[in-house]
Symmetry: C2
Subunit: 430 residues, 2 copies
């Protein structure tokens, strides 16, 4: 039997979920694991608002230092979020001799190396299952269960807000703005949705997963990301006719010791399982050299699902402590100098182009000729009769280089015959 | 750094996969985990056949005792299969002071309690990730990552052979026999496919998962199972029209401290993710009180996917040894007397009935009246004009008790107007 004292910093949505879960399943958790969890202190700037959960007022404080200075507290849970004060809390907790559990992807993605080194220097554990995929145990799975594999690919729908919006656009045939509004009303998008919509949140998560999967620390600045704010219902309907869907996909691959990591709206075949991941759900598709493809699906956010991952981290640390574990060698920041990170402009991909052009003879030929000049060859071209003066042309290409595509688009723009121009990258997942 | 010596018993499909994987990824595994795996001995009755993998002949033996008696061997991997000699090997290995990794679901399902007690008495680890879901790390996930949850439901497509056959029947519009033949030709079904086809293999796996998930040891004799050998293409097409699919589903639920475990062909909504799991793939859908629904998907069989799980077990044990772990309290046979196992006849379910009756007035009324007498009320009835003397009637019911359904069918049979009679249970997964 092991008793563990917990100090919680951040009594918001996830924090109150953790309190609820520990209270509700305390006995069950003890029966399953022999571990007794004790919530000893909760710090938040607001300790007055009712969180729908009963706690002894004596354990509430507005001063996080009370947690760091409490010698009986074994683990600090950081659920403040952001990269400013949360960073101080995590570093101070580790330096105060506490193990740390956090769900803070932004913090780890930006300052992971410093934080992991601080944990190592203090011989303390830091766990962060809830930082990617909410309740889905993807970090531990990749780190431990799939450890015998060379991980070759990670494809993730890792942001619930954008997946909800894209699903609603497609199913309800509404445009981006309306779907965003709906998401905000239902609590699937924040008042300021920028971090989610822009792909930035998914990029944070990809940084964490890819660094673990490929066993090489990837700087967050090396990850290209692009959001869904420019996806039109038209695009969704065009690709639907062709047997595809559009998802905000986080992509990490390794080939010939070169890693590529990127997040952008991606066209994928509608027969692939990832196409069936709808609404606010998340899924991560991982391919390894021995296991082949696997997919992990669940709720990527929300109070209790995220709390489920936070508590599993606490139990992991408890087990290690129970085992008198003195092995602090878990490294999350391997340099692995023989693996290189590919520049985004050097990636190759298939592309979907949508041009709105003036309806004059020779326009299509001019565009196709510029594409050809940059080694972009087409697999299909769709131009429907519209009777309008500006006509849309949709083209799908074979694999081409990002750099060539950007150069071609620059030349096409100079023609002054294109009103609107859009590219979406295609991944032919099998 | 930790060096681990392995003795392998059983050099068949999975055994040679383990050897291949350890050889191929030895360096990578060491970089990731700091663990050096050394294959010290391989025992098999046949050490002559070429397994497509290079091994030093000196490590091959036909005598498993050489492994048990080798004091340098830390872990024994049992990949012999079956419940006779494999049982002796596992028990002897544990009694000889070796940790054990096995993929043997039949053995664990039948003799689990004895084996786990032997491991505990000897203070040795026994791990068995590969026994359920092949390469999918479902056992560790349920045991560790989802530990904070009260597990409420487990639904699994856990047998690749039957899933392959059902997929082929549906997509190629062929009957059971032809699909089975195809599966055998492609190596997805064995020459004697009984254990897979009958649902027995899936029942073994469900016994293991449910015992861990509900934290109560479930005797294998308590699990009802039924195979797919009587599923006709007609049934698949009838339910397809209604928006459903047929899968061999392993079902475990807990409600009001009562557990039900059963394996049978099951009609599920075609919009549910489990309906998209095709061919030889496996998937396990788990619902917990905090995390909500999750799904884990991958290859449920095959040489390298299964080897991926076996090696992850080895690495888990190595890590525990590295940590000087003296905690041997992992119990896989909790009695949990406050949880009861429901008798199969007491379950309730929705039902699909297919009757072939003589085309006479009043037949439908007679059947419906008997069903009504046993509290079976219908949601839909389909009777198409066929011009034949024997006509099929398909009925779908509301929830009814299995016991009542069996009694009703008995009375209906007595009418002597029904030529063919089939029931398939429905699960309205959401």
């Amino acid at each position: 039997m092991k008793k563990l004292n917990i100090g919680l910093i951040g009594f918001g949505t996830i924090g109150s979920g953790v309190v609820k879960l520990v209270q509700k399943n305390k006995k069950l958790i003890f029966e399953k694991t022999g571990i007794k969890l004790e919530l000893k202190k909760i710090a938040d700037i607001d300790i007055k608002t009712d969180r729908g959960v009963k706690v002894d007022k004596k354990i509430l404080t507005t001063d996080a230092n009370e947690i760091f200075q409490d010698s009986e507290i074994d683990i600090v849970i950081e659920l403040v979020g952001g990269t400013t004060i949360a960073k101080d809390f995590v570093i101070t907790a580790l330096n105060s001799g506490k193990h740390v559990v956090t769900a803070n992807k932004a913090l780890l993605s930006r300052y992971g190396k410093q934080i992991f080194k601080t944990a190592e220097r203090n011989k303390k554990y830091i766990q962060f299952e809830a930082s990617v995929g909410g309740g889905i145990p993807i970090i531990k799975v990749i780190k431990e269960s799939l450890a015998a594999n060379k991980i070759e690919q990670i494809y993730g729908i890792m942001n619930g807000t954008t997946n909800y919006i894209l699903t609603r656009m497609e199913e309800d045939k509404i445009d981006f703005k309306e779907a965003l509004k709906q998401a905000q009303e239902l609590g699937f998008a924040e008042a300021d949705p920028t971090l989610d919509i822009s792909g930035g949140d998914a990029a944070h998560k990809l940084q964490i997963l890819a660094s673990i999967g490929f066993n090489k620390y990837i700087e967050d600045s090396k990850i290209y990301y692009e959001g869904i704010e420019n996806i039109d219902l038209t695009d969704i309907m065009y690709v639907s006719d062709l047997g595809y869907k559009i998802k905000l996909l986080a992509i990490a691959k390794i080939e010939n010791k070169e890693i590529e990591c990127r997040v952008h709206p991606t066209i994928i075949p509608d027969r692939h399982l990832l196409s069936s991941i709808n609404d606010e759900f998340n899924a991560i598709y991982v391919k390894g050299d021995a296991m082949g493809p696997q997919l992990f699906y669940g709720k990527g956010a929300g109070s209790l699902p995220t709390a489920s991952a936070v508590v599993s981290d606490i139990l992991d640390i408890a087990k290690k402590l129970m085992d008198n574990n003195q092995n602090y060698t878990e490294k999350f920041y391997n340099e692995n100098p023989n693996l290189k990170i590919k520049n985004f402009k050097d990636i190759s991909s298939r592309y979907y182009f949508r041009f709105h052009t003036v309806d004059k003879p020779g326009v299509l030929a001019k565009i196709a000729s510029i594409l050809g000049k940059f080694n972009i060859s087409l697999t299909s071209v769709i131009q429907k009769e519209t009777g309008q003066k500006v006509v849309p042309i949709v083209m799908l290409s074979h694999k081409a280089y990002e750099n060539d595509v950007q150069k071609a688009l620059k030349e096409i723009k100079k023609l002054n015959i294109v009103k609107n121009l859009k590219i979406i990258r295609i991944e032919d997942l099998s």
